[in-house]
């Protein structure tokens, strides 16, 4: 197969793309407001986690803060901490549990674990974080496991240590793509071990209503990006190296360290490649509108390398 096949592979993944989509303003918060929101989250966790409450690991009244240019890290009792990212308002909470504290007594069925994360998430009121027209939906369950072996090669059964529920933020029915909007990591009995909120709440102000470019056009642009990365220039990518390719449509969260004033639609491709010797995986993105509302960081940084080439 050749390039057009990749284009068509991608395009068929996004066949239900809307013809138009709103461009929303993202709520912006002052630093004080961000700190208040983080404090409220910690209080919510404390009130919903009896175990943590007893151990005091969610208490913030004695927390101290480490402030740098882009984050405040609040150190809490029991080795717990919360991190606030100024650029995005993202918040991470981490309990003081070590990786093998409070592990699951046994492997559980996926459905049971999904119910566990859904039930734990439901106890945390995140409505204030979702913004205008915002909704949250469960997306994916992750599991963390461990095993070992001795010199004889005898391996132990896998030990389930943590589960992570990933949830997706939708605004006006369109997903906000990027890292999980909410990631909830649970230990034994559903105790909250970690919570990450990466939500870009809409301010309710519609900046514009834009026509969405056809998936075929986006797929061609993304195929061209891939061809450039693979050194094919304007030639088409030989698709026999493509293991998997999918195209998603949605708003795009640029990451917790980046400020963002708008929610603007984008097409995002996830492509995995199987070369003869190497494997690789890309996330590629293009704006989904003719007019560019939001610049995407598509070029990457150059190295801070020490630079001078060494002699042989």
């Amino acid at each position: 197969m050749d390039g057009p096949s990749l284009t068509s592979m991608l395009a068929t993944c996004a066949s239900d793309t809307p013809a138009t989509a709103a461009i929303y303003a993202v709520q912006q918060f002052s630093l004080d407001e961000l700190r208040q929101r983080a404090g409220a989250l910690i209080a919510t966790l404390a009130s919903n986690q009896a175990d943590l409450q007893q151990s005091g690991s969610c208490r913030s009244d004695h927390g101290d803060s480490v402030v740098d240019d882009s984050t405040t890290t609040i150190r809490l009792a029991g080795g717990a901490r919360a991190v606030l990212y100024y650029a995005s308002g993202a918040v991470e909470y981490r309990s003081g549990l070590a990786p093998f504290d409070a592990v699951f007594a046994r492997a559980e069925e996926r459905e049971a674990l999904t119910r566990l994360v859904a039930a734990s998430a439901a106890k945390i009121d995140l409505n204030a974080w979702l913004g205008d027209q915002g909704k949250l939906a469960f997306e994916r369950l992750w599991q963390q496991k461990a095993r070992g072996t001795d010199r004889s090669g005898k391996a132990t059964d896998p030990l389930l240590t943590r589960v992570v529920g990933a949830f997706r933020h939708f605004v006006g029915g369109i997903p906000v793509l990027g890292g999980a909007s909410v990631a909830l990591r649970l230990a034994q009995d559903g105790a909250i071990d970690a919570l990450t909120l990466r939500l870009r709440p809409s301010a309710g102000e519609t900046i514009d209503k834009a026509d969405i470019i056809a998936p075929e056009l986006a797929a061609r642009q993304l195929s061209q990006q891939l061809a450039t990365l693979l050194g094919f220039g304007r030639e088409q990518v030989p698709t026999d190296v493509i293991a998997e390719a999918r195209l998603l449509f949605g708003y795009l969260d640029l990451g917790k360290r980046k400020q963002q004033e708008l929610l603007a639609p984008a097409y995002v491709a996830q492509i995995t490649l199987q070369h003869k010797f190497e494997r690789q995986a890309y996330i590629l993105a293009v704006p989904a509108t003719q007019r560019v509302y939001q610049q995407l960081p598509l070029t990457g940084e150059q190295g801070l390398a020490t630079g001078v080439r060494r002699c042989g």
Binding site: V103, Q144, A166, A180, I283, T299, L304
Partner: protein, 249 residues
């Protein structure tokens, strides 16, 4: 405080031109490499070296006893971060691709021996598939007092949602997470299918005749120097087990 070294390869044009690999260029290699570099230096740790692209050589990781120069590079720092393309052999040996043949285009993990008389505690490889979960023991020989190998048992994505992984790992290392948690948490955005795995060795007390004392394991107890407890080295003669911890979706 700790010392660390960084190597990142973004461009693979020489490897492609030489017919060594068809692997593509990456985009966010240096977002990640700069990110961990900034975080660790910002916390007062010392960067021993930072090589990029064709300045990264396979001899930097190959053991000095096997003709390499790890005594001056990977095995001369507490933490070695590398990003390039990776995979593993059928027998489980990890391999990494370089963009210059100094002396070879690829390195293989049976040529690594880390921590022996030198310094290495942790190796972090942001590369696909360097651990084969069906043959993890192929990595055992690299643990010559090395504490933890942080790698991947599947793909690791290059994209705009994983550009902050280096900074995330670094932030967690210097704010008290265990090294194992810092790797898993730092390289996971819980959206794309990254596949982090951490591998360590344990002594007989930890193996406990197969009823593993995970609480004693390096995976559970090891922190970056200066940010919590760091376990003692486990010499090859003391090693009774290999332990690994992975994230799956």
């Amino acid at each position: 405080m700790a010392s660390f070294g960084v190597e990142g390869i973004r461009y693979f044009s020489h490897a492609r031109a030489a017919g060594v690999s068809t692997a593509g260029d990456l985009t966010y290699t240096f977002n990640r490499a700069n990110g961990i570099d900034n975080k660790l230096r910002g916390a007062g740790h010392t960067r021993a070296f930072y090589w990029a692209n064709t300045n990264c050589w396979e001899t930097d990781l190959r053991d000095s006893d096997k003709g390499g120069d790890d005594v001056h590079y990977a095995d001369n720092v507490d933490l070695f971060w590398i990003e390039t393309h990776g995979n593993h052999e059928a027998d489980g040996r990890a391999r990494l691709l370089y963009d210059t043949p100094r002396a070879n285009w690829r390195t293989y993990s049976d040529q690594w021996q880390l921590g022996e008389n030198w310094n290495a505690e942790w190796v972090m490889a942001y590369s696909c598939e360097t651990v084969d979960r069906d043959h993890v023991t192929a990595l055992w020989p690299i643990f010559a007092r090395l504490h933890i190998y942080c790698g991947a048992w599947g793909n690791m994505y290059d994209g705009i949602t994983t550009d902050g992984c280096g900074e995330d790992v670094g932030h967690k290392l210097v704010h008290g997470d265990t090294v194992s948690h810092a790797w898993h948490d730092g390289v996971s955005d819980w959206w794309v299918d990254n596949h982090p795995i951490t591998v360590c060795v344990g002594d007989a007390k930890t193996w406990n005749n197969g009823a593993i004392r995970w609480d004693l394991s390096t995976l559970n107890r090891d922190h970056f120097w200066g940010h919590g407890n760091t376990e003692a080295d486990i010499a090859p003669a003391q090693q009774a087990c290999l332990l690994w911890y992975w994230t799956e979706g």
